[in-house]
């Protein structure tokens, strides 16, 4: 039998206001196994923890029940407290009498009664707790960064600078991501390429960093500290180690009409190409969908002109197996498709563009060499209408867009409007908005400059319809402040498309067993306190894959994720989660049910000798759990009909005791 100490927290008035903490601690003192029961204002405070430590010593406690806030909040805290006083951290259970009790019940009688039941339940469990020790596993001192945008680049650089090896897997032929496509950046208007490309070069030259460009993560096995990752290096038909990036092939290639994705299809490239001048690695890639040689074996021009002999039409996708200790997801974002927003005539008129397309138009390296012209006729536009929140904040149109705010649109639209007015003072620029959101350093000042100094017409209201009429785009909108309908004959309409996580993220999340929210953004382990970690141990989040964010925020998060990775890789050994499944070999009959439901492949079988009746030896096939691989879900425990499989920390007996205590 345990010697249990019960500690009821007031949480200031958070608990004490609707739960009679004194009554709870008195009632729980009578429960079996309880030898000490106390209450205190803030159990999680230093003083509160000291109180627990003292009681452990004084009453020779073997188990602790803390009636306080959610275990998701302070379970760790109290486990550490217990450990520091010499008892096993897993002898601590939390009764959640704040979130599940005091905060939701107004009546003190009800609250107190329920708190007692919750406490009793935790006591019943602790009575059956056993000390658990975490297993140890070694750490592979290398990190994988999935995605080579600014988030991935920054994370990789920070980790590598700390002395650890980092591999970046980028699905495109070059790293750089969305930022490489941008022209200027708000609110300082420095040129994106000027600040990004040096970082790309740093990455390329860093001795600790390897770039797997034009590659994808194909499979992930293992667990924190010990991931086995299969990387698929797609065939680019150019030998990376040999190609000098001279670009001769891209000039001679006869296939000229390939839509250039870097410019969002607004111009063309060749079948062999280097995405942009500062690409890293600066290596050509053959687009197999267009290359004549690969399609029908007729051409071979690039091979002929390549003096470095880098062209290899026989190249195949290769699989590379690597071990990593930590994985950072930096899969980024994309603007949503405008297909469903027909009211803006995106598909009907070339002059209706998305903001990212506009960004390319404004970019000196873009399809128009930075000249603002209409995509349809190359004429200079005079009236430009910017539409905000296209697909963002769609509370009532979730089937078309997103419910969330895409966060960056207000600022880049201000930037676009400002730059347009700056370069082409002859233009009329309208911005239609629901709200203008500028909560960042120097953001509001930036927006006001656009509106006030640059004379951008900000109109609160939404655009109802855009109709192409002749070479004009008739924009019908409402002005909510003036409370009237307005019609504008525009030359160009720029849509601030909502952003969404990259489509590849979903399958990556599945491979990583990392959870996602309903919008496919990766969930963080804690929205406030652990914003750069995934709930899955060893998986970290960097950049827009976790939620919409601008460059400064992305870089900050990238650095934070790197710091977390460094913290992990700096350890030689990792302590595992001791709440893992284990099989009672005496009960196991080796039927394989558990193995089939294990999502981690943590269960294997061995033939083992057992003592049979009359001094005989029987060999039986029995299940064994690899505690380092097991994540403790418990699926196997229910699949096992013999009850041979149990889960430490959530044992069948413990849960049954909890059921009993609740129903008592």
């Amino acid at each position: 039998m345990q010697r249990i100490g019960v500690f009821v927290c007031w949480c200031g008035s958070n608990i004490a206001a609707t739960v009679d903490v004194e009554a709870v601690s008195q009632a729980l003192a009578k429960e079996p196994g309880v030898v000490h029961s106390a209450n205190y204002q803030y159990m999680c405070s230093q003083a509160g923890q000291d109180l627990i430590r003292a009681a452990i010593k004084e009453h020779k406690l073997t188990g602790i029940v803390v009636c306080s806030c959610s275990p998701r909040m302070h379970e760790m805290t109290f486990r550490k407290t217990a450990e520091s006083a010499g008892i096993n951290p897993y002898m601590v259970e939390i009764a959640n009498i704040r979130e599940q009790c005091s905060w939701i019940h107004k009546d003190i009688l009800t609250g107190t009664e329920k708190a007692i039941v919750l406490g009793r339940t935790a006591i019943a469990k602790v009575n059956l707790n056993a000390p658990l020790t975490a297993g140890e596993s070694p750490v592979t001192k290398r990190a994988l960064v999935i995605g080579g945008g600014i988030a991935g680049i920054q994370t990789a650089l920070d980790i590598a600078d700390a002395g650890f090896e980092v591999d970046i897997v980028e699905k495109n032929p070059t790293i750089g991501g969305k930022m490489a496509q941008l022209d200027k950046t708000f609110p300082t208007l420095d040129c994106a390429a000027c600040i990004l490309t040096p970082k790309m070069v740093d990455v390329a030259q860093h001795e600790k960093i390897r770039i797997f460009s034009y590659s994808e993560v194909a499979a992930v096995k293992g667990f924190v500290g010990n991931f086995d990752v299969t990387i698929k290096k797609k065939a680019r038909y150019v030998r990376e180690d040999v190609c000098t990036g001279c670009g001769l092939c891209t000039e001679k290639c006869p296939v000229k009409k390939v839509p250039n994705e870097f410019n969002l299809g607004m111009d063309t490239r060749r079948a062999i190409y280097i995405p942009f001048a500062q690409a890293v690695p600066k290596v050509a890639t053959i687009d197999a969908d267009y290359c004549n040689m690969l399609k029908n074996g007729k051409c071979g021009v690039c091979s002929k002109v390549c003096t470095a002999k880098a062209i290899d039409y026989e190249q195949k996708d290769t699989l590379i197996e690597e071990k990593y200790g930590a994985i950072v997801v930096a899969t980024g974002f994309n603007p949503i498709s405008m297909e469903k927003f027909d009211e803006y005539a995106y598909s009907q008129s070339k002059d209706v563009v998305t903001s990212l397309e506009f960004e390319r138009i404004m970019n000196a390296a873009g399809p128009t060499q930075g000249k603002l012209v209409r995509p349809s006729d190359g004429k200079h536009p005079h009236t430009l209408v910017f539409v905000q929140c296209v697909g963002s904040r769609c509370a009532n149109c979730a089937e078309k867009g997103k419910e969330y705010c895409s966060k960056i649109c207000c600022m880049y639209t201000a930037k676009h409007a400002m730059l347009t007015r700056d370069k082409y003072p002859d233009t009329d620029v309208y911005v239609f908005y629901i709200d203008v959101r500028t909560p960042g350093k120097n953001f509001d000042e930036f927006y006001r400059r656009a509106a006030e100094e640059y004379g951008v017409h900000y109109v609160k209201g939404m655009v109802g319809k855009v109709m192409p009429e002749g070479d004009k785009l008739m924009v019908r909108a409402s002005d909510l402040i003036a409370n009237k309908q307005i019609n504008i004959a525009a030359d160009m309409v720029i849509l601030a498309a909502a952003i969404e996580p990259d489509k590849s993220a979903r399958s990556i999340a599945t491979m990583l067993t990392a959870s996602m929210d309903t919008n496919d953004f990766f969930t963080e382990a804690h929205p406030k306190l652990r914003p750069v970690e995934s709930p899955t141990a060893g998986i970290f989040l960097s950049g827009a894959c976790q939620g919409p964010k601008d460059i400064p925020e992305t870089v900050a998060q990238a650095g934070a994720a790197a710091a977390k990775v460094i913290g992990l890789l700096a350890k030689d050994k990792l302590k595992g989660n001791p709440c893992v499944a284990s099989s009672n070999e005496l009960m196991c009959n080796g039927c394989s049910s558990c193995e089939r439901v294990c999502p981690y492949g943590a269960i294997s079988y061995v033939d083992k000798e057992f003592r049979g009746p009359n001094r005989t030896v029987l060999v039986r096939r029995v299940a064994q759990v690899n505690p380092a691989v097991c994540q403790g879900c418990g699926a196997c425990t229910v699949a096992c009909p013999s009850g041979a499989m149990d889960l430490k920390g959530f044992a069948t007996k413990q849960i049954m005791a909890e059921v009993d205590a609740i129903c008592k």
Binding site: R72, R98, Q100, H105, S515, A635
Partner: protein, 144 residues
């Protein structure tokens, strides 16, 4: 308050990653639901053994609800899919044995769905109150 008001006993198994967090969120947002609902934290809804559910009824529970991550969102990738199969068969079997089918329920509640958690518990409790005391799966020894 009425003297003979039926206070049902309801056991809610909540997975640690989604539904328990959803319950926490309900708490943080002060969304109230009946005190008759008591939560047992399990790592994943797939830890819930049918034996636990029957045990709860034996010990006097009037309703049992299991909450897990939405399909596809399981922290352990597939746990809730197994739960879904197990519970579909178990509930169907209990119904077949003439046990009121509304006494047991499976709901998917994400960590973000504090409001859903509270509504679900309110609705479930209401349902159980309308069904009355659990008579068909009771163990008289456990009645006071």
């Amino acid at each position: 308050m009425q003297v003979n008001e039926f206070k049902p006993k309801i056991v809610a198994f909540c997975c640690n990653w989604c539904s328990y967090a959803g319950a926490d969120l309900a708490g943080s947002n002060r969304l109230s639901y009946p005190a008759d609902v008591k939560i047992i934290r399990v790592p994943c809804s797939c830890r819930v053994n049918p034996m636990f559910i029957l045990r709860a009824f034996q010990r006097g529970a009037d309703g049992v609800i299991i909450c897990g991550c939405h399909p596809g969102d399981c922290h352990y990738t597939s746990g809730n899919y197994y739960t879904r199969r197990r519970m579909a068969l178990l509930f169907s079997m209990l119904d077949y044995l003439g046990i009121e089918k509304d006494r047991m329920r499976l709901e998917w509640v994400s960590a973000a769905e504090g409001a859903k958690f509270a509504t679900t518990m309110n609705e479930f409790t209401e349902k159980i109150i309308s069904l009355g005391e659990n008579k068909r799966l009771e163990d008289l020894r456990c009645k006071k």
